[in-house]
């Protein structure tokens, strides 16, 4: 029994050590409304900013980006499709 448990634990450890390239570690976000710009006094568009923390070798890199609402919904849609694809393997 112990041998089986230990093997399972070792396998999980080994799996956890499998190479991952640019592994995504964390995602932070904020969103709000653009009130005005130097070109337009009153704007009123919603913006969404994402920060992705990516493991690069031994250190991490932060990737910042901005999305419009349509881009956000597309991102969400694509990630749902990716998840559905992943679930084919379970």
């Amino acid at each position: 029994m112990n041998t089986i448990n230990n093997t399972a634990a070792l396998c999980r450890l080994a799996l956890g050590q499998t190479l991952m390239v640019n592994q995504l570690l964390d995602m932070e976000w904020k969103f709000g409304v653009t009130v005005g710009t130097s070109e337009i006094q009153k704007v009123g568009n919603i913006f969404l900013q994402l920060k992705l923390v990516v493991r690069k070798g031994n250190s991490t890199e932060n990737v910042y980006m901005e999305l419009t609402l349509p881009q956000f919904y597309n991102f969400l849609h694509e990630m749902e499709r990716a998840k559905a694809s992943m679930e084919c393997f379970s």
């Binding site: 799996l15 592994q23 995504l24 969103f31 070109e39 991102f75």
Partner: protein, 206 residues
């Protein structure tokens, strides 16, 4: 896209002066209404030597006057966009009483025609973090590694293409990041995106 908008921000702060309106009346020398239209649209983008030279020859005026006219048109069109002047009355009110009446009407018409496009451009060009332009993904099944010879673990690669609308001088405007996500990470991301979606619907509902 390599437009440089630095000067437009400097000019934006300037209100229209009587000197600007004097410069605008140089447009009376234009050979046609289409020439006036062309000059207005080109000036909105910003000054350039080519534009000044073309305008000087089209209007048969010295280059210095052409440059001043470009600047005044630029200030006017950006003033209209900044304050969102969207009716003829609002734009006509910018001009002094003494301004040539037909020219005033023509310039107003041209500004009204182009405002929607210019406003959309201003919104898409505004100061921003790199914008997500394209997203591609791939799901792989990892069947072996240096730590385990036989395995069956799905993993997801996501490639994000970002474009910086205002890259710094010498900087690249398009960058690509590819990240790898485990199933757990993807679930966490979807959880986060779901929460964003819920928060957004609260904001949109207000």
């Amino acid at each position: 896209m390599t437009r440089r908008r630095l000067t437009s921000h400097v000019n934006m702060a300037a209100a229209l002066s009587s000197e600007d309106f004097n410069n605008l009346q140089l447009l009376l020398k234009a050979p046609s209404k289409d020439a006036v239209r062309d000059v207005c649209v080109q000036s909105h983008k910003g000054p350039s030597r080519q534009l000044t030279e073309n305008m000087a020859s089209t209007l048969s005026i010295p280059a210095t006057q052409a440059a001043q006219l470009v600047r005044s048109l630029h200030v006017l069109s950006h003033h209209v966009i900044f304050h969102n002047l969207s009716s003829p009355e609002q734009i006509l009110a910018v001009f002094p009483e003494s301004f040539h009446s037909s020219l005033k009407n023509l310039i107003t018409k041209i500004l009204l025609e182009n405002s929607p496009t210019w406003r959309t451009e201003a919104v898409s060009d505004q100061v921003s973090l790199p914008q997500l332009k394209d997203l591609n993904w791939r799901v792989d099944l990892v069947t072996g590694s240096d730590s385990i010879s036989r395995m069956s673990v799905p993993t997801c690669l996501v490639q994000l293409k970002m474009e910086d609308p205002c890259p710094s001088a010498g900087g690249e405007s398009v960058s690509t990041v590819t990240v790898e996500l485990s199933r757990e990470s993807l679930d966490t991301i979807l959880d986060g995106l779901g929460r964003i979606r819920d928060q957004l619907s609260v904001v949109a509902g207000k």
